[in-house]
């Protein structure tokens, strides 16, 4: 399909994404086709009770079983293990991870790919904080918290990237395998740990500004508990990585 022989695999962890899944797949398929890329999407569903898997199978019929792979799991088992699970079925040489709730838009993937090719980077990460990046749906309070949190993490961890908790990234497959096998945290601290370790291992990282549309439906939580958890996570990384 694509002359350069590169294949791009998207690992999409889902839980109750029956409403969003068709559109996100539609956007991905459209983008890959328009850019003439060889692609597949691996949906790792954690036994969603809302029928996400049924939708996934229908999408597989529309787009082809070679493009849409459903690899479910028995229960809600966490993000890190979802990626590990998905990695087993990846047949591409590049892996893209992103969220299924529209906060990450597939239209940025060609820019990731272009930057990766230009400098043969190991990792390309989307950033909401630099260049033309931005966010929709954050009030001032949310921005203050986010910026303060990022400053704290950057000062302590010195990761070399402007957006440490972002989870919209492109990896070379062996790079992701190595990173996942060496991380121990859970949740979004896991995303931070990956970046800090990537720096440690000396992997080359590039950034592409992205627009982040937060919570198309409903508001995302950022209360005192979440802030404390975040600070704990940063401290944990500070003292262990």
């Amino acid at each position: 399909m694509s002359g350069s022989g590169n294949k791009y695999s998207v690992i999409l962890p889902t839980y109750n994404e029956r409403g969003n899944l068709p559109t996100i797949i539609w956007l991905l398929a459209k983008m890959f086709k328009e850019n003439n890329l060889s692609w597949e999407v691996i949906i790792v569903d954690d036994a969603s009770p809302d029928g996400t898997q049924e939708i996934a199978k229908q999408l597989s019929n529309v787009y082809g079983a070679d493009h849409i792979l459903l690899k479910p799991r028995a229960g809600k088992l966490g993000l890190g293990t979802a990626y590990m699970h998905g990695l087993q079925y990846v047949t591409g040489n590049f892996v893209i991870i992103m969220d299924a709730d529209f906060s990450h838009h597939p239209k940025f993937i060609p820019q990731f790919i272009k930057l990766q090719k230009a400098k043969d980077l190991d990792i390309v990460t989307g950033t909401r904080y630099a260049g033309n990046g931005g966010v929709y749906g954050w009030d001032l309070r949310r921005k203050v918290i986010s910026r303060g949190a990022n400053f704290l993490a950057s000062t302590l961890l010195r990761p070399g990237v402007s957006d440490l908790t972002g989870s919209f990234r492109l990896y070379k497959k062996p790079v992701l395998e190595k990173l996942i096998s060496s991380t121990v945290s859970k949740g979004y601290v896991f995303q931070m740990e990956i970046m800090v370790r990537a720096r440690q291992f000396g992997f080359t990282i590039g950034e592409v500004p992205i627009t982040f549309v937060d919570r198309v439906y409903g508001e995302s939580k950022m209360g005192a508990t979440e802030i404390v958890q975040y600070a704990k996570g940063v401290w944990q990384l500070f003292t262990t990585v």
Binding site: W26, Q58, V62, N132, Y136, G137, T155, L156
Partner: protein
């Protein structure tokens, strides 16, 4: 070496150098010794505090709101749902 150990090492080395200078184990010009050295730690702390606040404030000011991304996305969601419904995918009406 963890980030914590790196930081501790850096702070230890700078502290040792500072105290060597403060207690005159290494001679320095009088004006530096009497006026600048004693207040250097506090000055550094305050500067760091000012830098932190400035950095955070600046970035909050420059935070980009991307309304156009939201509207574009809303349109694409509708387009996707219409097309896939026609191809037999069970799209809920919401």
């Amino acid at each position: 070496m963890t980030r914590a150990i790196e930081t501790a090492t850096f702070l230890s080395i700078t502290s040792v150098i500072y105290f060597l200078l403060l207690f005159k184990f290494v001679p320095t010009p009088a004006i530096f010794q009497e006026k600048i050295l004693p207040v250097l730690p506090w000055w550094s702390l305050v500067s760091f505090g000012a830098y932190s606040l400035g950095n955070i404030g600046y970035h909050i000011f420059k935070f980009r709101d991307c309304d156009d991304a939201y509207f574009e996305l809303m349109e694409q969601i509708q387009e996707a749902k219409t097309e896939l419904r026609a191809k037999g995918v069970s799209i809920d009406n919401d």
